[in-house]
């Protein structure tokens, strides 16, 4: 009887291990981009119509400024600080990190960091009234924490076809109609605005690592670790931006604002909107 239980347990372990390694390996292979994934991407597209946007209108020479950056001199200073931080600290650290850890493992770590932050996505989906999305976040968390071995794999996507539903408190505030406020470029953290800064702080409080320990140092270390891992998976993003821009500060500001607006607008437009075409 005893040996049988042990045998079952071993079998379970092997299956678990196989599932995880599959999950890790397939995450970046592109195979997981099933029809569901593409359909949902399309679904997002349907809702947001660029042609309503004034920017593409015929009267293209009259164009209102769409951002508020009265703190530009200070922001530029912090931008320079982050730039120096990138080339002097982050890039060398990332080089060592990438050399030591194989990419599969870094993808697993990325999954892990994402999985731990699930409460943020859960609460914010709830706060935006996206009950079914909150359910998906919860299912993903439960599946990945068990079958995905503490969230290192992403079997919820690979085997169950559950798409991630990223939401943060900045987006929630945006969906509630809170304005952006002035643009801010924080040292260490990067581009933001007043609304998203509040969102960032609120999300930090609902993050399990911050919630369950009061040590600022541990939280900081955890955050830095997740950021380095993210950087190691997308190493060329910042340098590309610098390479292509004639004014990297302005380019980054515009990318940030456009990207965030698209996320919030794409979300609110999900309710049927009569589009004048």
């Amino acid at each position: 009887m005893m040996t049988r239980t042990r045998y079952n347990f071993l079998c379970y372990l092997v299956v678990l291990f196989l599932l995880t390694s599959l999950g890790c390996a397939r995450d970046r292979s592109g195979e997981n981009l099933g029809p569901e994934a593409q359909e949902s991407a399309q679904g997002m597209e349907d809702d947001f119509d660029l042609l309503i946007n004034d920017f593409y209108g015929d009267d293209d020479l009259v164009f209102e400024p769409e951002y508020y950056d009265p703190l530009e001199p200070m922001n530029r200073l912090f931008f320079e600080f982050n730039d120096t931080l990138y080339f002097w600290v982050l890039k060398p650290v990332n080089r060592a990190y990438t050399a030591v850890l194989p990419i599969d493992l870094r993808y697993c770590f990325g999954n892990f960091f994402t999985n731990v932050a699930a409460p943020i996505r859960f609460f914010n989906n709830l706060l935006q009234g996206e009950i079914s999305d909150a359910g998906i976040v919860l299912s993903r968390f439960l599946i990945n924490s068990t079958f995905g071995v503490l969230g290192l794999g992403d079997p919820a996507l690979v085997d169950f076809g559950l798409e991630p539903k990223p939401e943060d408190f900045g987006q929630t505030l945006g969906a509630w109609g809170v304005g952006e406020g002035v643009y801010l470029c924080w040292p260490f953290i990067g581009p933001s605005n007043v609304r998203d800064s509040f969102g960032f702080a609120a999300d930090a409080y609902s993050h399990p690592v911050v919630y369950f320990n009061n040590d600022f140092f541990i939280s900081g270390a955890y955050y830095s670790g997740s950021r380095i891992n993210l950087l190691s998976l997308n190493p060329e993003v910042y340098e590309d931006l610098k390479k292509y821009a004639v004014d990297p500060y302005v380019s980054m500001r515009q990318v940030y604002l456009d990207y965030r607006r698209n996320k919030i607008k794409g979300k609110t437009a999900k309710q049927p909107v009569v589009q004048e075409l």
Binding site: D27, R28, S29, G30, E31, N32, L33, A37, Q38, A41, Q42, M44, E45, D46, F48, D49, L50, L51, F55, Y56, D58, D60, L61, F63, D240, Y244, A245, V246, D247, V250, S251, R253, Q254, V255, D258, Y259, R261, N262, K263, K265, G266, E276, L277
Partner: protein
Amino acid sequence: MKSFYDTISCKDITMTIKRLFFLVLCFCLFSGLAHARASLGPTEELKPTLDKIKEILADPDLAGSERKAKRREKIMAVAVQGFDFAEMSKRVLGKTWKTIDEQQRVHFEQLFTKLLENVYIGKLESYSGGQNVQFQEERIKGKRAVVNTVVDDNGVAIPVRYVMLQKGSIWKVYDINIEGVSLVRNYREQFKSILRKEKYDGLVKILEEKNASFIDEESN
């Protein structure tokens, strides 16, 4: 007498019918022609352009950095047919476009086209060719259209939207919008910031330096 009138009217009728027939024929012919020219929609116009660019990028005879000049030349020859660089240049300069003369406009268009070539084609060249573009629905509003595509970048679906303008009967791209981030608006804001401080001449100088930096990079 009666029969005479009959013949006249008969002749008249045949003439009228012949004329009508001729008119209808002409109408069919011209409208057919016009229809054939106007029938290419935004997606139909865009897809072959992107396919041709992809073909050139995949061509082993044109691969490698030593054949870059020839490859770029071929790509740009295709790109000008599908992308409206003049419209982009105009939009990216905003109000300043009105203050510069024809010669400056031509020069600026060359500079900006070169920059886009360095940025956009440079980025395309860096991909290993594993990128799959999926065309989705298009929207047309008057002379403007948006073609939605999804690019599969190693398993991550990136929505890329081409904003197009119809001039005559031909649709051409005048902006690329990736996840809400507009290429033209991004440069427009950068240029605006430079124009405020350094005026138009300063911008031209910065663009020339930027384009030169891509050449320096190759020789390194």
